[in-house]
Amino acid sequence: MSQAASHKAQKGLIVKQTGPLALIQDAGRFGVAHLGVTQGGAADWIAFRWANWLLGNASNSAALEIVMGGGLSLESEREVHLALTGADLDAQLDGKPLAPNARFQLLPGQRLVFRQPRQGLRAYLAFPGGLNAPEVLGSRACTAREQFGGLHEDGKPLQVGDRLTWQGTAPAMRRIADDQAPRMPVSGCRLPIVLGSQIASFSGRALFQAFNQPWTVDNRADRMGVRLTGPALHGSLTGIISEGIPLGAVQVPQDGQPIVLMNDRQTIGGYPRLGALTPIACATLAQCLPGTQVWLTPVSASQAQDDYRHQLGVWVGG
């Protein structure tokens, strides 16, 4: 039997109702940016890693990224242990509240519903051994624009009637220590930024404004980029010759309002940049609802790497 056919025969979770957006994601698609292929992957990679950790999965196992909730409803056809992390989307299991950052059991016929964000924006639902989904260029990340990934290999989010199946059977029994549980950002949070190539092209006034007052997360925000609003930042450059764009790059188009480029960004682009948010800051920003106030806080690349390695160390051994 082909792999696809065996997935169809396997019992799983059925999508009964969809919300605004639920995507299959893993850590992302790497080593192919030079082809013009976007990175993709879980926007809050920290919550994503915790979800897989809770089940003892490999850290790159495909999970579900659920944005906002909005009535997404999944019904189980079999007994399974899942893990839920990230945003508190007022999830309910057969009408009973389900706390994030823990594993839980789902019995046949039980229904899981994600209602609305109470804290954060994106929840991650991990499955034993990771979700089954076709792999494209080494990743199961679902990227809509490119039509890569997804259950039907068309880059589309979950649809009513889709059946989610998974690769493993007996997950680990883990819980997150209270002091380690990922916290959702609050207004006034800090986003560390490593300053980049065009920083000297901005005026002194623009640089003062960039780092000494809060920015507001705009509702023009998706997996490609998050716009921040505040005073217009100006500099001597209106455009540059297109160059590679790292994760978290803070580009400033002509209107002076910064856009943070996230997982589904294009691979090269021609707007001057202040620098790039650290991966930890990107995870934070991915959970900020529109209206949240954030501060851009310069940090050295070396300090950012120390913080990053410290974060990775949390999952070692456990």
Binding site: A33, L137, I241, S242, P246, A276, Q305
Partner: protein, 243 residues
């Protein structure tokens, strides 16, 4: 910090781009002659970084080095770049492949044909001839999987992007923006002036990880008839009827 590397003829600058990414800057202006250096730097960086390299994105004048900071610190990555690029020499520019791209130039699939011709003071046939006359250099891949930014088109037919980009440009659309030309690998939004359509499978190549067009390659467009385009399996659905 802007360390520079001495190479035989160019000044190479290394800039911090992100926590785990460095920008290698070779030039300050677009030029076909850059490509021999960009490709040489690409090969040298891949070889020197080995498994510590996550992604390497070459563009017109730069290369973005995204490295694994669990395998190399910021300082070590700077040293690796220095090691890779000191004494760099350009590759042989004749090494790139020449691609023959058949295009059905027609207003139904290339709605800006009359406008671009008119701007240039040419007939549509003269415009097509002009677009087919050069071997265009592939400068960079980006925007979409397998999308190659090519140029430079003759100054006379250079045309600025549409004021309002189309929400849907058909796969295979061949367009011009300023002095650049490109082919859309898949249905996507876009603001280039579309002149025609090709049936070359750019997207499918990229999806397999083997792009048809690579930086430094040359592309020559060749005008074909509707019959030839259809015989090749080309989709003749007019641009406006796509939804």
């Amino acid at each position: 910090m802007k360390p520079t590397i001495e190479s035989s003829r160019i000044e190479i600058r290394i800039e911090t781009a992100a926590m785990d990414a460095l920008m290698v800057r070779l030039f300050d202006a677009i030029d076909e002659a850059n490509m021999a250096w960009v490709i040489a730097a690409d090969q040298a960086l891949r070889k020197t970084f080995g498994a510590a390299l996550i992604d390497l994105v070459p563009s017109y004048t730069t290369l973005l080095v995204h490295y694994d900071c669990q395998q190399a610190t910021h300082t070590e990555a700077l040293q690796l770049i220095n090691k890779a690029l000191s004494g760099l020499t350009p590759v042989d520019t004749q090494a790139g492949e020449l691609h023959d791209i058949p295009v059905w130039y027609d207003e139904s699939v290339g709605p800006e044909l009359p406008k671009v011709a008119q701007r240039a003071g040419l007939s549509v046939d003269e415009l097509i001839e002009q677009h087919c006359q050069h071997d265009y250099c592939v400068f960079a891949l980006g925007f979409a999987p397998g999308y190659g930014f090519m140029g430079l088109v003759d100054e006379a037919i250079a045309t600025p992007r549409l004021k309002t980009p189309r929400s849907k440009v058909a796969a295979g659309s061949v367009g011009i923006a300023d002095r650049q030309t490109a082919i859309y690998p898949l249905l996507s939004p876009g603001g280039w002036n579309i002149l025609g359509r090709t049936n070359v499978a750019l997207f499918e190549h990229a999806k397999r990880g083997e792009p048809l067009l690579r930086p430094g390659d040359k592309v020559r467009f060749r005008a074909i008839s509707r019959d030839e385009f259809e015989a090749d399996g080309g989709d003749t659905t007019p641009m406006e009827e796509r939804s």
